[in-house]
Amino acid sequence: MSETNQKTECDTIQESLAALLHDELSTTESQHVRGHLQQCDRCAEELAATDTLLAVLQQEDIPDQPESGWPAIAAQIAAAPERVATEPTPDVDTDEATPRGRRIALWLSSAAAAAAVLLILFAGLGAPQPLGTALVAGTVKMILPNGSEQLLQPGASVPAGAVLTTGADGRVTLQIPGEPGGPTTDLTLGSDGELTVHTAAAMALTAGRLEAQVAPQDTGFTVTTPHGRVEVTGTQFTVEITNATTVLTVREGEVRFHAPDDSATLVLHEDQVAVADAAGHLLRIPVIGPVEPTPTEGLYLRVDAAGGRTEFEPGAPVVLTVALAHSTGTVRIPKLSHDRATMFYMNIGREGEAVTSILLDPANLLSESGEPAGEWSVTVSPKAEYRFAVDLTALAKDKIAVPGRYGVSVSYYNYTFVPLVPLKSEEYTITIVSKEE
């Protein structure tokens, strides 16, 4: 055995020592490692040192748990059972700046404060001031600040403090004048929606979908939902409340999306989408293909080897590239990581058995020029083709040394809690040819 091969074998064995001590090797693997250890003093010493390390670490005590903590949990659930209960699983790995109880308290207190402010405003204003006019289709109701309710008529004035509700067949566009001679702000509330018009520049959407074309503003125009706050100074966007989340789609310009307690803010631009869930987590979501209606259309992956080679000698470098591109539109992939929303895997199998599975690390992501992309966020357009360079000999040197045909597939996953849903997959075959053949 050459010195190089000896090093490789010892490296492989030493990487298995912790697993051996944790009793995590298969019988075959364990026998192989133990067989090597009987013949290799260096690896046997490594095993002894690793064993000592694990034993030393076991001596570390942890402080006693001072209290059960259950009463605090029970109190928070009792205080807001539905709000806590409707929170989705935190698939969205975004910032969690505020403890749950404090966040609930903030939401409740801010809502109460807003209600108090409105009461004070309306008490002092007397007759509500008209802010704009309504273009109405179908059934649309308006509840005035004094509590009176009326069917909204086309061309009717909408005052500050009014609540607009649309039926299943309803749709209303509120036109708010801008600067003299300038464009108006047009807000269209779709069916089954509810919009509170606090001021000409402050709305609260509590149900349905709002399409907004906001005229340039000196100060921010805001739309608040139970899950977040949208702030712009003039642009086009859509806000929709659906499945206990708020989905924001930016059509033009720049939009800021704040968490309810301002613990996090996303800045979004044209064709970008973000979602806020019931707990106030914010997440950019990848837009793959046209924004609507098919989110996965157009993305493709391609596995390739330099020069089109498919046959490699054992021990020779096997470098494949995985091309990620888009056929028609633009795909925004925020972070390629198992800890985030999307990830890419290369799966390698041999004669029906899985050999290994490699997470395509962002460190392997190359830009068009061949340099590391530097950031994990990439926007893949029809003109760009991003590549992962995967050196199988480095990543799976102990897995693909045996001559034979190996299948390679690459899959793009969108992370959800229980299943990993493959969105796209591409297959490729390589052959490791024995030198003797």
Partner: protein
């Protein structure tokens, strides 16, 4: 867990009683700050309650709850890196004059000189553990301290088992260096 899905808070309390020591220890191993460990335990059970409709019997409860714990800790670790002033247990004890529970060892430990040396060694290893990349740190803590099987850790971290093996191996190698070469560990 089925009863929790139906909104039974008594069942949630039973799960809390079953898992609270284990999860508290998990957070203590990661942070060694009992206040933060207590917060983490509370947050995980609130998330568990909020996410109960998403639980599927196909996934083990332990995997489910550790997935919540992992995500919570990663988020908090990210946040703390953005706000680097973090009071750790040792700092807290020094500042407040309260005893550091890490020094409150049982009498079966070796003699005083050995004890000081062992404590220094442990502190050095703790520093090295803190400096590990988050995925390695999580995998190592779950595998070594929590005794979770690699296959379950792989589910929790949504990566292949081979990746967990690799992460634990890398973490072990780094800690071995810290144990063998104090200067390198402190660099």
């Amino acid at each position: 867990m089925m009863q929790v899905q139906e909104g039974n808070t008594d069942a949630l309390q039973q799960l809390h009683e079953l898992y609270r020591h284990e999860l508290y220890a998990f957070f203590c191993r990661l942070e060694r700050d009992h206040h933060q460990a207590q917060d983490g335990l509370q947050e995980v059970f609130l998330r568990l309650w909020g996410a109960r409709s998403r639980y599927r019997p196909t996934a083990s409860f332990r995997t489910f709850v550790y997935t919540l714990a992992r995500r919570y800790w990663l988020n908090r670790a990210d946040r703390q890196r953005r706000s680097p002033i973090v009071a750790r247990l040792g700092d807290d004890a020094q500042q407040s004059g309260r005893p550091d529970p890490r020094n409150d060892r049982a009498d079966h430990r070796p003699g005083p000189a050995d004890r000081v040396e062992t404590d220094e060694t442990l502190q050095r290893l703790q520093v090295a553990l803190d400096r590990l990349p988050d995925p390695q740190r999580l995998a190592f803590v779950m595998a070594h301290y929590q005794g979770i099987r690699y296959v379950e850790i792989a589910e929790v971290m949504a990566v292949p088992v081979g990746t967990i093996k690799s992460r634990v191996a890398h973490a072990t190698a780094t800690l071995r260096q810290a144990l063998a070469d104090p200067k390198r560990a402190e660099a």
